[in-house]
Amino acid sequence: MQASDRFNINSQLEHLQAKYVGTGHADLSRFEWAVNIQRDSYASYIGHYPMLSYFAIAENESIGRERYNFMQKMLLPCGLPPEREEE
């Protein structure tokens, strides 16, 4: 594999990462991965109204409140990020 190719692949990856939120990379930490999964899940719950209703029934809240709660949770879905290890 030539150097230019590698550069090419990298730049393609970068492009993907910029375009599609949540595209992984080699140095992805466990935390970042989990955060992405959680945000995707919440977005899916909000998008699928029957599922949102299902949660609303379980928690005995209104659907509007449930949607708001899920939106709020998208800020810090997995709690605070871990301390960054100095390299």
């Binding site: 599609y20 939120v21 949540g22 970042e32 955060v35 945000r39 995707d40 919440y42 977005a43 899916s44 909000i46 998008g47 699928h48 109204y49 029957p50 599922m51 209703s53 299902y54 609303a56 029934i57 379980a58 928690e59 005995n60 809240e61 209104s62 659907i63 509007g64 409140r65 708001y68 939106m71 998208m74 800020l75 810090l76 605070l80 990020p81 871990p82 301390e83 960054r84």
Partner: protein, 1214 residues
Amino acid sequence: MYLYSLTLQQATGIICAINGNFSGGKTQEIAVARGKILDLLRPDENGKIQTIHSVEVFGAIRSLAQFRLTGAQKDYIVVGSDSGRIVILEYNKEKNVFDKVHQETFGKSGCRRIVPGQYLAVDPKGRAVMIGACEKQKLVYVLNRDTTARLTISSPLEAHKSHTICYSLCGVDCGFDNPIFAAIELDYSEADQDPTGQAASEAQKHLTFYELDLGLNHVSRKWSEPVDNGANMLVTVPGGADGPSGVLVCAENFVIYKNQGHPDVRAVIPRRTDLPAERGVLVVSAAVHKQKAMFFFLIQTEYGDVFKVTLDHDGDHVSELKIKYFDTIPVASSICVLKLGFLFSASEFGNHGLYQFQAIGEEPDVESSSSNLMETEEGFQPVFFQPRRLKNLVRIDQVESLMPLMDMKVLNLFEEETPQIFSLCGRGPRSSLRILRPGLAITEMAVSQLPGQPSAVWTVKKNVSDEFDAYIVVSFTNATLVLSIGETVEEVNDSGFLDTTPSLAVSLIGDDSLMQVHPNGIRHIREDGRINEWRTPGKRSIVKVGYNRLQVVIALSGGELIYFEADMTGQLMEVEKHEMSGDLACLDIAPVPEGRQRSRFLAVGSYDNTVRILSLDPDDCLQILSVQSVSSAPESLLFLEVQASIGGEDGADHPANLFLNSGLQNGVLFRTVVDMVTGQLSDSRSRFLGLKPPKLFSISVRGRSAMLCLSSRPWLGYIHRGHFHLTPLSYETLEFAAPFSSDQCAEGVVSVAGDALRIFMIDRLGETFNETVVPLRYTPRKFVLQPKRKLLVIIESDQGAFTAEEREAARKECFEAGGVGENGNGNADQMENGADDEDKEDPLSDEQYGYPKAESEKWVSCIRVLDPKTATTTCLLELQDNEAAYSVCTVNFHDKEYGTLLAVGTVKGMQFWPKKNLVTGFIHIYRFVEEGKSLELLHKTQVEGVPLALCQFQGRLLAGIGPVLRLYDLGKKRLLRKCENKLFPNTIISIQTYRDRIYVGDIQESFHYCKYRRDENQLYIFADDCVPRWLTASHHVDFDTMAGADKFGNVYFVRLPQDLSEEIEEDPTGGKIKWEQGKLNGAPNKVDEIVQFHVGDVVTCLQKASMIPGGSESIMYGTVMGSIGALHAFTSRDDVDFFSHLEMHMRQEYPPLCGRDHMAYRSAYFPVKDVIDGDLCEQFPTLPMDLQRKIADELDRTPAEILKKLEDARNKII
């Protein structure tokens, strides 16, 4: 196994609703999205909601918006869905369809985080639309008109911002300046990087204005300013000449007016006095009402309270924002204010309401205003209010909604011909048990007793141009009774009818004379009172008669036919005689076609099991045109003419058709197409209607001819939206019927049954089920049948609510405090609480106001024994001490001391989060006392987890307690542990048993097949599924097969392969040795997935049942959105081929309306397997005729044959 999937009851819940003039002109319609269905509703003159059009789009609709181009009269609908496309629809009034005007692809399909579709905002002047996602992406499309005034759409302009969550979007009304869109945004990029949490706590929501520069064709962030961190919704404030422009930001506890360059104007939302301090008040829906000189907003909070928001403004400057308590109605997902003074509220759960405005809240009431906002150390000073009865609104109609359907059982407890569906619906105080019966609902107008047993009934007009009927004529075995219809219905003797003989037929002949056919002759009563009498020759009597307005045919005993025609002068003339081979069973003449002298066809049914079509043309009078042999002697014949249609309000276009319907002695209805030229018979369909031979009558429904068939129950055959429907009516067995039209009742039916005369009307057409409602107290969770006594045991529970006693005490306190003045004296003008009789005396029905909120760790629950026949609760046990019931089953223990017992699994102080919290569960054992009507606690056994599943097994009780499956036996003081298996992955939520197999459903990991070895007293798992399925419902299909449904809206079947199953059954150790080895961290054997289908809605219950007597069973399911569907197994390979090809052609030729690919939708999570989508196939009749023909050609059939196939497939299910 191939299955045919059919939705029997479409989803009844509503996701969002918008109003506008979609059909153009003055009338306002409401477009509602019900998940995968888009409906157009309209309140009619009587204030009843009518469904004008309904279309399944095979995709999840997430948002709707309407817009209107400047100067146009008609609104377009923009749909945001999961298709990754923006779709603009226009309602076509002529054809009654939605036309897709534009469909632009912008992203991947599916409900994703960054693919737009979740939010829609339109420029109030209809110049642009913004479509947004939960995160990052926002696209703006410019809307315009081309030279031929057609709508054009631009390519998308991006307004993305990464790492930004969007809460709400709306258009800003800024007149004809550049369009501006507002968004509530939150940037999370710093919070993600900061481990100290400081950035997260400082994260601030912003209100951002995006400006679309129409000149540069570019979108820019124009203005961004911090906004209250509880902000969740934006509402457009009218601008230009109508108002100050800007937006209302609805936040938790506040409404804030914001605009660029304008200081914030903030007011608190009043709180209910009984609301716990920890809870906020969130706005969940809003509507704006605009009149010439004023505008106001109605906002609804999550507790159902509606507030009127007004702005005091002077030009662009807003000086005061006022929030005044308006009324309280059930929490809605959307509210729409219509120009006619209606408010449509699409309830989140339970029935939707249509309200009429009595006032617009001008009277003084609790009000909070921006001018007296008080800020204290603890924040802003709240304003309190107490909900009161409706003052400004009055409910005039409701649309039934089963949402959410929590549990369902198909049972025939009433011993009727078809089983009933018992469904648990609703939530909290609006919960109910609904008993659904297939068939149309009717409204009984009158029942009156007659002297004797009537045999037949007719209605006649005096003149052909009359609007209403003049007489009801009732025939008895030896007399005829004439009733005149006026203000009241009373007997008359001056009608000219012979009353000393029974009648065979009574009708209007010619334009204005009446005819009575009796066994000895025909009596012709002219308009001036002259009477002509035709007598039968010799001793022969008339046995049968067929007639229309101009022609009469009589059959004499012995089989002679005599044909009469009314001539130009109205005289009845004998035209022709014909001797048939034997006695005739029945006769019918087709109605006179428009503009013709006579009808050409006479149908004659004989006892030799044939039906003949005879010509009535002068050239070949009474000559046989065609013969059809039928399976049994015909009892009744009816020609039904279907007028040609080119769509319009009644749906698809179809050519004019003449059908001959024969009711046979064996209870079958035979329906045949008659060629309108040659009289040849073709394309016959049959359907079993009931045990009695069907008698057929022509009536009119919605101005169209329809057919009433009276067998052991009445049926109605009618055309609705292009489909011919044959639907039972929910009414008693009737003997004879006739159409009835009077002042009070334009389209009714008069009928006789027993010794009573009954007049009734048919309600909404097109519905599959009609329902009887029994109100419940809390959200119903599950129910079981007490098989011996046919009683239902229902468990209900609610989180965060007060027990009945606490509520009662609080209410008393509140009334004592508030005095009688405000609330107490209103009992007289009772309104609102609908079916709930026991609350009639109750000034504040919980059904409408909701239960007061308690702290979230409080639970209330009850166990109810209900007698479905009388709809009465015979026993209601409210659980104490924060316990809530989750599972229930009936169990017969080995020692038969107590007979059938009831086991209920409960939990004390249930908390979902954090999961690790230890909870205490109990299994209560109850004994049925007083003939099963009441319950008595035997004992209560403490368990260490949540008992979510209970099941009887070999005279013992199996319980799923968290991840543990345990076998209990009955002891004196408690249940005794016998055996357990702790190897289940998460939480057991369902247990079903068959012989020695136990089928366990895990909440997250699909099914586990277990066995119990009695000799070793061991429970072990021998097979499991390799797919992680979040089970929501399960049903045991056969020894090796389970049906399940997951949280994401899939239904699937798994089966243990035949050879494996046999091996396990033959193995003396029962596969135990193998079990000890295991595979893939699970059981040694894996089940195969044999069926997979994406329903698109969370399925909450599955059951195997048959809805038709003697029919084969299908799998029925109910969903959260309140729909009921069925999966029916095909029995022949040919049918599978035919339907899969039809489905394929439908996919190609008629892609779904909202842009989602059908196959991709049905395979949203897993590829669809061996299920044919009947809902798609049933759209075939709505296709244009040439497309129908094209598809039919490809399938080597005619369109009529395809329709027949579709009808047959449906008739096998319901």
